[in-house]
């Protein structure tokens, strides 16, 4: 009997302990939840008071009315990294202009960005300013009427001239709108980087047409030099090459036509471009095992003289400027635009360009205070980026560029030549189609898949997405 009592007692003690454990954790959870709710209420009342102030002083002159607001910025860069440095510097500078301004900087890993924005958009709680991706993702937000028409803002605050026209045309092409819905955070051109010493060794001139390019590849290969380095493991390095040929033979809107259903990915021209890539792979121009090489390694191969050419964007200059990595020296690597097939279809002054990640403004939280901040941002981003990082972000700048390194100068010169632009291979594709295009490009390079089958797999994915 004693034992029975003891056992019941022990069981009871255990159960109570268990419940107590659960209880305490539950109370912490609810505690933190209520804290966050408080924060939300606080910020929303703050916004409300701001709006009332705003409507009272809705001024649109050139002097900042110093409105009170705390804006929230969602970014994929830490405060001490890349664009994070620039955004924070501009915010802090703006605080001097408008002491009533404050900001909260939130970091989210770039892989989680789309998911996070999707969730916030669904609850109509997008931040004042947030980093996003151009192309298909932003189109979805525009269609859902979640983000601010930035052209209107720029017009209202009289600062539209501070955006580079090439950046603007690029962004409007990507968002498929007449108006601008996002701000650029970079302006990159893409093309072929080449090792000058290897070109000289093989007696190859910089090619300007695809025929010249093909004969250059052959000449380099015959001279015992690997003609092309390509990051097949990162996949996009390979699809960019298909894109290069597609655009030059079918025109800059070829990929959009196929995405809109005005053309099929399986049409002869598209297949020919994929075939081109496979032909190069079969001829051994990429060396062995191209699908195991990542973009970084491919870049190193170019700089150390193991390959003669490498397709990449102007961001590659950061590697080139690194003297410990760049064995070719300060003038050892050159750049040329994608060769031309037919000037009337796509000319030599048309470059593959992109704006990297972009900034959007959440519509629900937008007011004049944000507008004035955007004005300051747009007017100062170009100079800040040039002085702090020596980089071009898609805004006009007056800062001195003569101190920039040779490679940065090279990019600036090429950019000045650009009259029009086109986008990358997957820009018009949804995530499923773009995954298929990228994954199967490895099979295309290996020869496991024919060019016909490759384009068919993209078309199939596109069809099933449309369903």
């Amino acid at each position: 009997m004693k034992r029975k009592v003891l056992s019941v007692f022990l069981t009871a003690a255990m159960a109570v302990g268990m419940l107590a454990g659960c209880g305490s954790s539950a109370s912490t959870a609810s505690g933190s939840q209520s804290a966050s709710t408080e924060a939300v209420t606080a910020s929303s009342t703050e916004t409300a008071s701001v709006t009332s102030e705003t409507s009272a002083t809705a001024a649109t002159g050139d002097t900042d009315p110093q409105m009170k607001k705390k804006i929230k910025i969602l970014s994929i860069w830490a405060e001490d990294n890349d664009n994070g440095v620039l955004i924070n510097q501009i915010c802090n500078d703006y605080k001097k202009v408008n002491p009533n301004f404050d900001y909260e900087y939130e970091y989210v890993a770039s892989d989680d960005l789309k998911q996070k924005i999707a969730t916030l958009a669904a609850s109509n709680d997008l931040p004042d300013v947030f980093v996003y991706e151009s192309g298909k993702p932003i189109v979805d937000l525009i269609n859902a009427d979640q983000i601010v028409d930035i052209s209107d803002v720029l017009k209202k605050y009289n600062c539209a001239d501070y955006i580079e026209p090439s950046a603007e045309s690029l962004l409007t092409t990507l968002s498929q709108t007449d108006d601008l819905y996002d701000l650029p955070l970079g302006l990159n051109i893409e093309g072929f980087w080449y090792n000058k010493a290897l070109f000289q060794k093989a007696g190859v001139e910089v090619p300007s047409t695809w025929d010249e390019f093909d004969s250059a590849l052959k000449k380099l290969k015959d001279a015992g030099i690997q003609p092309l380095a390509c990051g097949g493991a990162d996949k996009w390095g390979a699809t960019r090459l298909i894109n290069a040929y597609t655009v030059r033979t079918l025109g800059p809107d070829a990929m959009k036509k196929a995405a809109d259903g005005d053309a099929k990915y399986t049409d002869a021209g598209y297949v020919a471009a994929a075939q081109k890539l496979q032909d190069w792979a079969n001829a051994g121009y990429f060396g062995q095992g191209v699908t195991t090489v990542d973009m970084n390694t491919a870049g190193t191969m170019l700089m150390t003289g193991k390959a003669a050419m490498f397709y990449n964007g102007s961001w590659f200059t950061s590697n080139l400027n690194d003297t410990s990595a760049n064995a070719a020296g300060a003038d050892g690597i050159g750049f040329f635009n994608i060769p031309v097939q037919d000037e009337s279809i796509s000319g030599a002054d048309s470059y593959s360009m992109n704006c990297g990640n972009i900034l959007c403004l959440g519509k629900a939280k937008y007011d004049d205070a944000t507008g004035w901040f955007v004005k300051y941002f747009v007017e100062h981003m170009g100079d800040t980026a040039m002085t702090v990082q020596g980089s071009v972000k898609g805004y006009t700048y007056t800062a001195d560029t003569s101190k920039a390194t040779g490679y940065t100068q090279l990019v600036l010169q090429e950019m000045a030549k650009a009259k029009s632009s086109f986008t990358w291979y997957e820009a018009t594709m949804g995530s499923e189609v773009s995954t298929v295009a990228q994954e199967n490009v490895q099979s295309l390079l290996n020869g496991d898949m024919s060019a016909q089958d490759y384009m068919k797999s993209i078309q199939d994915a596109s069809d099933s997405q449309a369903e």
Binding site: M18, A118, Q288, T435
Partner: protein, 296 residues
């Protein structure tokens, strides 16, 4: 004690906390997955009830079938490799190795404690072909097998094999320790008696050791099966699922569908398929255990 365990009420009290916990962290998510699988889109974004549509999609989805086949091959090869080599190693520790026993055991067990990503990077270097030959290709090259030098991870025909080899290498130490423990548990007089009766070598293993090792073999198989059916991190670290889809497993496909295609509903269907495979596989392996108990 018997009195306590004979009391159904007391037993219930003891079981209840664990049962509640188990229900909360295992059973509820399964039901939740099933509920999710009836929707299309992603929660909060185009989230719509679509009935059994996701299930019908499964039968038309070629990617699913490809991933299933890859996963099946992987389970078969890796399970046989891990358990088989683990057993061989244990026998080696027991009967063959005289010196440096603990040193060899430590070396064999060492890969188990290495992080998967580090192992993936290590093997990527071993299989490397561009810009420099990795260990494997340099050895082949220097031995004169020039035609065997190839992009081991860069072609569909060899990538899965290379991945399997890596995972077998990583885990065989773990299984060898399990089997070695079981071998030590076998009373030595049984082995001695068998030896006196003239049983040695393969026959000793076939008629004496293997029946005694059967329960532990079943356990090892269940371990290995449940480890391989969720194939994810090693493939992600070594090949990223490539080239093409050659090493993309069901879990990797499920992850892709959920987080890059934003189709949480369909991903839940895939999760349920993985769940069913787990249950099915484990119970098939369990059958062997049952039959061995009946033999006794």
């Amino acid at each position: 004690m018997k009195k306590v365990l004979g009391n159904k009420g007391a037993v219930a009290w003891f079981v209840l906390p664990a049962l509640i916990l188990y229900t909360a962290i295992v059973f509820v998510p399964i039901v939740w997955s099933f509920y999710y699988s009836l929707f299309s889109g992603s929660p909060g974004l185009k989230w719509k009830f679509c009935g059994m549509k996701n299930y019908f999609l499964l039968f038309k989805d070629k990617n699913f079938l490809d991933a299933l086949i890859v996963n099946g091959k992987y389970i078969a090869i890796v399970m046989v490799g891990q358990v088989g080599l683990g057993l061989l190693l244990a026998l080696m520790f027991m009967f063959w190795l005289k010196k440096c026993k603990s040193l060899v055991r430590t070396l064999v067990f060492f890969p188990v404690v290495l992080p998967t990503v580090a192992v993936g990077e290590l093997f990527a270097k071993i299989y490397e072909i561009q810009p420099n030959y990795g260990l494997l290709n340099s050895v082949l090259d220097s031995l004169g097998f020039h035609n065997l030098v190839q992009a081991w991870l860069g072609q569909a025909s060899t990538a899965l094999g290379c991945l399997c080899f890596m995972d077998i290498w990583v885990a065989m130490g773990f299984y060898s320790v399990i089997f070695y423990g079981a071998l030590l548990d076998i009373p030595y007089d049984i082995i001695e008696a068998a030896k006196i009766d003239g049983c040695s070598g393969f026959n000793l293993f076939r008629y004496v050791l293997s029946p005694l090792l059967k329960p532990i073999t079943v356990v090892a198989c269940v371990f290995s099966f449940s480890g391989t059916v969720k194939m994810f991190e090693s493939a992600t670290a070594l090949t990223g699922g490539g080239p093409g889809n050659a090493t993309k497993s069901l879990s990797m496909y499920m992850y892709e569908v959920a987080f890059s295609y934003n189709k949480v509903g369909y991903a839940s269907v895939l999760a349920l398929v993985i769940f069913l495979i787990c249950i099915g596989g484990s119970s098939i392996i369990g059958l062997f255990d049952k039959s061995s108990k009946e033999d006794n």
